[in-house]
């Protein structure tokens, strides 16, 4: 049977077992009929003939059963024999096997590692009971459905009790809190939740009890907490933990429960370490918005709702039913619920937000992330394909014999593929190890910089295993099936006689299969090198960015009097004392306070427009910061026009309504005029009404983000009228050099202690270190590191591939070289001849790679910080590196060729 027919029959059998069965039925039936006819021909009557046939035929079912057994027996036997044979072949070539497995381990490992991360973020089901039933419930403007806002507690309670859509509706929000352990206070993220939160998720606690309805009541203030499973693990897996206490924001909380293992709420991987009842919400310090408002106010929109939909309820039905409730609630409370309706949306796995976040952008990013290692695997597979071809050529005699004695081409292809697949399986197994090691390393480094628990298991789950298997199969197709198909051509003997496909004229030889494979490898690896070059360049730019403020000789400290339980009056006193004391330390040039810090955990956006502009147009979005008078001086932000704040404007008491804006804001608000002296209107921020302010100064624009690196306008208002407990202290210091700075930091810590012993210091480091430890920079640098590794692997594989083929070519053409030299060609001629082909292969590979690299550059420029689509520096460096190593890979075999002794060569073969 021909290979194609066999494959077709196998496919049919797998696709449609019924048809094969039908065929067998027909065959058995036909046999039976013929038996009867034969018996009748021997003179029996129809009945006698049938009876005799039935006796001879022990029973059709039994026969069919035996046939099925025989078929499976053969299939299994063949497969086992192929595997045994392949294992023997590979064992006999340990060098080849080791290189192949290593190559595949790198290629598959890179893919599995990336896939593991994508899996953890986007695919792996969350630890929630029936996650498909859980949805976010959002309050949106009827006229502008894109505009969503959070819920107030009274609205939440009304909706919880009156809706017909959810079997259970929970409310929560995240709050940054200070968790004190011994001397150290850490910023952690706490999930402040309703009492039915864990019940709505359908995930019972690991130990202890849920929050009670009394603890949920706004302003109840019962200091109880539930900790995450990993918090419990990190603290010695103390079975007695429930009942013990911990300090949150300077208050003593009693632990009442431990959440289930692996529970991360509605987001993937990132989990809060602490869960607190809604009743503590108004007391939590550091809370960014809505300070001083009770959760019981219907106008205080703080809560994000998660509901478990009734089974089989569609979004359309749910929205329709919710809109009825919304109309009723608007009637009952027209002020707060004007124009609001409620809708459900699938929850984002990547964040918690009052509005629906589509996870749409992330699959695109995931595809980009996955495509990089895919290229590495492709290079690895092409490399192996060449090795298989070379090995195949050596085995062509064996293959020719098998073909000659009628071993079907399919059998040979199958045998060679089994060999390839066995290699891929070993490579995949090693790749799993590489991947779990690599991703664990990545996660460990991430854990050290985010204020969350990172819940990640490096043990592969079923999806990761399936993906790894898929990588094995795909690479086998490239490096196993294709060469096997070529090698098993029936005219393989002809190939042998004429010296294979390396024979023939220059062009045909140049574009021989092996050379084309190497060209593909070279071009792909140029593309990878360019990609990693762009990533590295982006990281370097980010590390050397000039953000518009000074990064050298700057120190930032973060304190929060509210974490020690101090109220505003005491807090003001502390800040005043701190400013005075720190200013007088020798070596400190300037001190100021600021609410948000560039590259910090959060920024506050506010809408601004020229005062008196009553148009309904979109206001200019600006970053909002609260600072003291010396801020611009301390940070080295140039004052372009007007003045900075006066000391009188930054103390408590009567608020002078002034503001400083940056150049960008000035240009946007007053494109053709002097901003100083004009008034701007700051749209209502949460917890504070809209207000008009006079612009007294314009300063330089600063950059506060690396990712999404677009500059944003800035608006500064004076500290004083605007008290915030969680302020950053900026200091400009004289200390230069690492040691002096470390000494300075020690002094500062001591001085802060002197001011108030109980004041927690949340952060104290140079501004440079603060930037280096930011998530933004981490992402950029980690990307560069990963791509750097991929680029290095790609380069290595391509060069090994090129070298291998050059060596092979020289070995293959030894006889020809011998003849040429016997006829008078010099060593130099020979070397030139061999080098020329290598040069051509490299040149063509690089030319194709350049096109790929340019195309990729366009894609990457959209994702990376400060990168141009065509970066001449990166491109030329990548080309140069590849050319140099490629030349080396060509030169060594060429040198060997030049040393061929004609006498030896002529006797060769």
């Amino acid at each position: 049977m021909s290979w194609a027919r066999r494959a077709a029959s196998l496919y049919r059998r797998l696709r449609n077992r019924g048809q094969a069965e039908q065929d067998l039925d027909n065959e058995v039936q036909a046999y039976f009929e013929i038996l009867i006819e034969r018996n009748m021909a021997r003179g029996l009557s129809r009945e006698e003939a049938a009876r005799a046939a039935r006796i001879e035929f022990e029973g059709p079912e039994q026969v069919k059963h035996k046939v099925r057994d025989a078929r499976t027996g053969v299939a299994m036997e063949t497969t086992l024999r192929d595997i045994r044979y392949a294992a023997r072949v590979l064992r006999k070539a340990p060098g080849f096997t080791a290189v192949a497995v290593l190559t595949l381990a790198l290629g598959i490992g890179a893919n599995t590692a990336m896939f593991s991360l994508v899996n953890a973020f986007l695919l792996k089901p969350l630890k929630i009971l029936h996650p498909e039933e859980v949805a976010g419930c959002y309050s949106v403007d009827v006229h502008n459905p894109g505009h969503a806002r959070a819920f107030s507690y009274p609205n939440y309670v009304d909706l919880r009790e009156k809706n017909t859509v959810f079997t259970s509706l929970a409310a929560h929000n995240l709050a940054g809190v200070g968790l004190t352990e011994g001397d150290v206070t850490r910023h952690v993220s706490a999930d402040v939740v309703s009492s039915n939160y864990f019940a709505t998720m359908g995930v019972p606690l690991f130990k202890g009890r849920d929050f009670t309805a009394a603890e949920e009541r706004p302003d109840a203030g019962t200091p109880v907490a539930i900790v995450s499973y990993s918090y419990w693990k990190k603290h010695g897996s103390d079975a007695e933990l429930p009942g013990k206490t911990l300090r949150v924001d300077g208050r003593v909380f009693t632990v009442v429960g431990i959440a289930a293992e692996g529970f991360t709420g509605t987001t993937a991987m990132m989990s809060s370490e602490l869960y607190l009842p809604l009743g503590t919400y108004s007391f939590l310090a550091n809370e960014i918005e809505g300070r001083g408002h009770s959760l019981s106010e219907r106008g205080n929109y703080r809560l994000i709702l998660i509901g478990r939909l009734k089974p089989r309820l569609t979004k359309r039905e749910a929205d329709a039913q919710l809109s009825v409730v919304a109309v009723r609630m608007e009637k009952a409370f027209p002020t707060e619920n004007k124009d609001q309706t409620f809708v459900v949306f699938p929850l984002s796995r990547l964040g918690v937000s009052p509005g629906p976040i589509p996870d749409r952008r992330f699959p695109a990013l995931a595809i980009l992330l996955l495509s990089m290692p895919a290229v590495v695997l492709l290079i690895a597979s092409l490399n192996l394909a060449n090795m298989m071809l070379a090995r195949g050529a050596a085995r062509s005699k064996e293959i020719a014999i098998r073909l000659a004695i009628g071993g079907g081409r399919g059998r040979i292809v199958r045998q060679l593929c089994t060999e390839g697949f066995l290699l891929a399986i070993f490579g995949g197994a090693a790749g799993l190890l590489v991947a779990s090691w690599g991703s664990a390393l990545l996660i460990r480094s991430l854990t050290s910089i985010v204020p969350f628990d990172v819940v990640y298991s490096s043990a592969p789950d079923i999806r990761v295993l399936a993906a790894t298997m898929a990588f094995c199969v795909l690479s086998t197709i490239v490096f196993g099936l294709w060469p096997a198909w070529k090698l098993s051509r029936p005219d393989v003997t002809l190939d042998l006689k004429t010296g294979g496909d390396d024979a023939g004229g220059g062009m045909r030889r140049l574009f021989s299969r092996r050379n084309v494979l190497v060209m593909a490898q070279l071009s792909l690896s140029l593309m990878m090198l360019t990609a990693s070059g762009l990533f590295v360049r982006s990281a370097m730019r980010a590390a050397h960015l000039e953000p518009g403020f000074s990064l050298e000789n700057e120190v930032v400290a973060e304190v929060d009097p509210s974490l020690a339980g101090y109220d505003e009056t005491r807090g003001r006193q502390i800040y005043e004392a701190l400013l005075t004391r720190l200013k007088n330390i020798p070596g400190v040039e300037s001190v100021s306070l600021a609410w948000t810090v560039p590259f910090g955990g959060f920024t506050i956006g506010g809408g601004i427009r020229p005062a008196g502009d009553n148009s309904q147009g979109i206001p200019v979005g600006a970053e909002y910061n609260v600072v003291t008078e010396d801020y611009f001086k301390t940070m080295g932000i140039p004052l372009l026009l007007g003045r900075s704040f006066l000391p009188s404007e930054t103390v408590g008491g009567a608020p002078p309504r002034v503001a400083v804006i940056d150049k960008l804001a000035a240009e946007r608000l007053w494109p053709n005029g002097d901003a100083v002296g004009k008034h701007l209107r700051l749209e209502a921020l949460p917890g504070q009404a809209a207000e008009d302010r006079e612009v007294v100064g314009v300063v330089g624009t600063v950059q506060e983000r690396i990712i999404e690196g677009e500059l944003r306008p800035d608006l500064y208002v004076p500290f004083g009228p605007q008290y915030r407990a969680d302020m950053h202290i900026h200091l400009k210091v004289a200390a230069r050099g690492r040691e002096a700075q470390v000494r300075m930091l020690e002094t500062l810590r001591r001085e802060i202690r002197e001011v108030d012993d109980g004041l927690p210091v949340l952060e104290l480091k140079t501004l440079r270190d603060h930037l280096n430890e930011s998530l933004d920079l981490w992402l950029v640098e980690t990307g560069a590191r990963i791509l750097g590794v991929f680029g290095a692997i790609a380069l290595l594989l391509a060069v090994i591939g090129l070298y291998g083929v050059r060596v092979y070519t020289v070995a293959h053409r030894t006889r020809e070289i011998g003849i040429r030299m016997a006829l008078g060609a010099s060593s130099a001629d020979t070397r030139r001849m061999i080098l020329r082909e290598g040069f051509m292969v490299t040149a063509i590979g690089l030319a194709c790679g350049l096109l790929l690299a340019l195309a990729l550059g366009r894609v990457l420029a959209g994702f990376l910080y400060d990168v141009q689509p065509v970066d001449a520096m990166v491109l030329s460096t990548a080309m140069l590196v590849l050319t140099v190593v490629a030349m080396l890979a060509c030169y060594l075999p060429a040198r060997k060729a030049a040393r061929v002794d004609p006498m030896v060569a002529l006797r060769y073969e």
Binding site: R6, E56, I405
Partner: protein, 110 residues
């Protein structure tokens, strides 16, 4: 199923391949032919014949195709493939070796 003599393992395969060496036959034809040529020593029933045919087909040594008898009845005809021919040659050699060896053993005994 062999009634008169137990078939040696693999003998049936050889018999079938040999039977199909010069022409294709349907199942009953193969059974009859074997019985006829061995003068009734080997009578192959469908319980042995069917699994053997399908095993050989699965190895790719024979190939079955539906065709018609003279009387218009449809039957599956089996024919040898190229690799089946190679396999037959191999099994013939094997059999001769075994046969010679067995004869020597028996001859010495006699």
């Amino acid at each position: 199923m062999a009634k008169s003599a137990d078939l040696l393992q693999g003998t049936l395969d050889l018999l079938i391949l040999r039977t199909l060496e010069f022409r294709s036959l349907h199942g009953v034809g193969i059974a009859d032919r074997i019985e006829q040529v061995t003068r009734g020593v080997f009578i192959v029933g469908p319980g042995s014949l069917f699994p053997a045919l399908h095993r050989l087909a699965e190895h790719g040594w024979i190939e079955g195709q539906w065709g018609e008898l003279e009387n218009g009845r449809r039957a599956k005809f089996y024919a040898l493939t190229a690799s089946g021919r190679a396999q037959l040659a191999k099994e013939k050699r094997n059999w001769r070796r075994v046969f010679t060896a067995m004869n020597q053993v028996l001859g010495e005994e006699a």
